[in-house]
């Protein structure tokens, strides 16, 4: 890249690899054009603002893709399992630890099953559906917690156990779906159609 400004050339490396590979030379050439036309100071003013806005944005867009969304679920399984083992070992209780392990196992099985394929299938509404599911589970968690507070007695009853199971499962599910939903790209319907063509 003859004439390329070395500092800008280096800063272009901050962009995601795919974008850099596709447009890196264009960016540097464009910057050189700005320097030649408007001077170094004006070019840097524009490029600095551009870098500050677009580097995090394009990085975030790269993170919010299918692969990372699937990775999130894998990490969630690992964390839940670790929390389950840890809570059992540190005497928080066998029951919540066991519950966490069961949820982690169920999530792990689901990830390798039809549910996982559905999660990865092209579907323009999947982000919204995941967030809606998280919201519903959040409401279930709050409702079970409120019910537990209202109905709490002196001794632990079967009813309390049922509420605890529902509340814990709903809370874990809400967090998992919220994370998966937030990491799902906001893909428009038209974009999906165009990619499918």
């Amino acid at each position: 890249m003859p004439g390329a400004h070395p500092i800008y050339h280096t800063l272009v490396r901050l962009y995601p690899k795919a974008f850099r590979d596709a447009y890196g030379d264009d960016l540097v050439q464009h910057f050189d054009g700005l320097v030649a036309d408007r001077g170094s100071r004006a070019a840097w003013c524009r490029a600095a603002l551009d870098l500050a806005v677009t580097v995090p944005r394009y990085r975030l867009e790269t993170i919010m893709n299918e692969r990372h969304s699937a990775t999130t679920i894998s990490v969630a399984v690992g964390l839940l399992a670790a929390a389950g083992v840890a809570s059992t070992l540190v005497d928080i209780g066998l029951y919540p630890g066991g519950l966490l392990l069961v949820v982690a196992l169920a999530l792990g099985i689901a990830q390798r099953s039809a549910i996982a394929r559905a999660l990865r299938a092209p579907d323009p509404h999947r982000r919204r559906r995941r967030l809606q599911t998280a919201a519903v589970l959040g409401v279930v968690f709050v409702a079970s917690f409120v019910a537990y507070l209202m109905l709490i007695g002196d001794t632990w009853s079967t009813r309390d156990t049922v509420l605890a199971i529902i509340g814990n499962a709903a809370m874990i599910g809400a967090v998992g779906f919220l994370a998966a939903g937030l990491l799902t790209p906001k893909t428009s319907q038209r974009h999906q159609h165009n990619r499918a063509m």
Binding site: T54, Q189, N194, M197
Partner: protein, 119 residues
């Protein structure tokens, strides 16, 4: 196979400002990136100043969505051989026209509501 949703320009509206500016620039003909930036600045009286990554990110999105395309430009002796040229697709033309119509409607309403003496 194209579906109605793919070719319906209305499904792309409203366009983000930068995308519309780039499409408007391409309505005048094929352009390379730097010329598009100059066009956008001129057409917006200097209000819209796109940095390099903003411009190429926008072009990437337009190409991904089928509104613009890169093509092999017949280069003259003075052309920079490294430059890539872009042009509107048929869908891009229809979407650009639809967005222009939408904005024209807004302008009409605004002017009617803000008649002299009403503000």
């Amino acid at each position: 196979m194209q579906t109605a949703g793919v070719t319906d320009p209305a499904s792309y509206l409203p366009l983000p400002q930068t995308q519309f500016h780039v499409l408007v620039s391409l309505t005048a003909g094929e352009r390379h990136g730097y010329a598009i930036m100059q066009d956008v600045e001129a057409s917006s009286n200097g209000l819209v100043r796109m940095g390099p990554a903003t411009l190429y990110g926008t072009l990437k999105r337009l190409v991904d969505e089928g509104l613009a395309e890169e093509f092999a430009h017949r280069r003259g002796p003075d052309d920079d051989q490294r430059r890539r040229y872009y042009r509107l697709t048929g869908l891009g033309q229809r979407v650009c026209a639809a967005e222009a119509t939408r904005l024209a409607g807004l302008v009409r309403i605004t002017r009617a509501n803000l008649r002299p003496g009403t503000v």
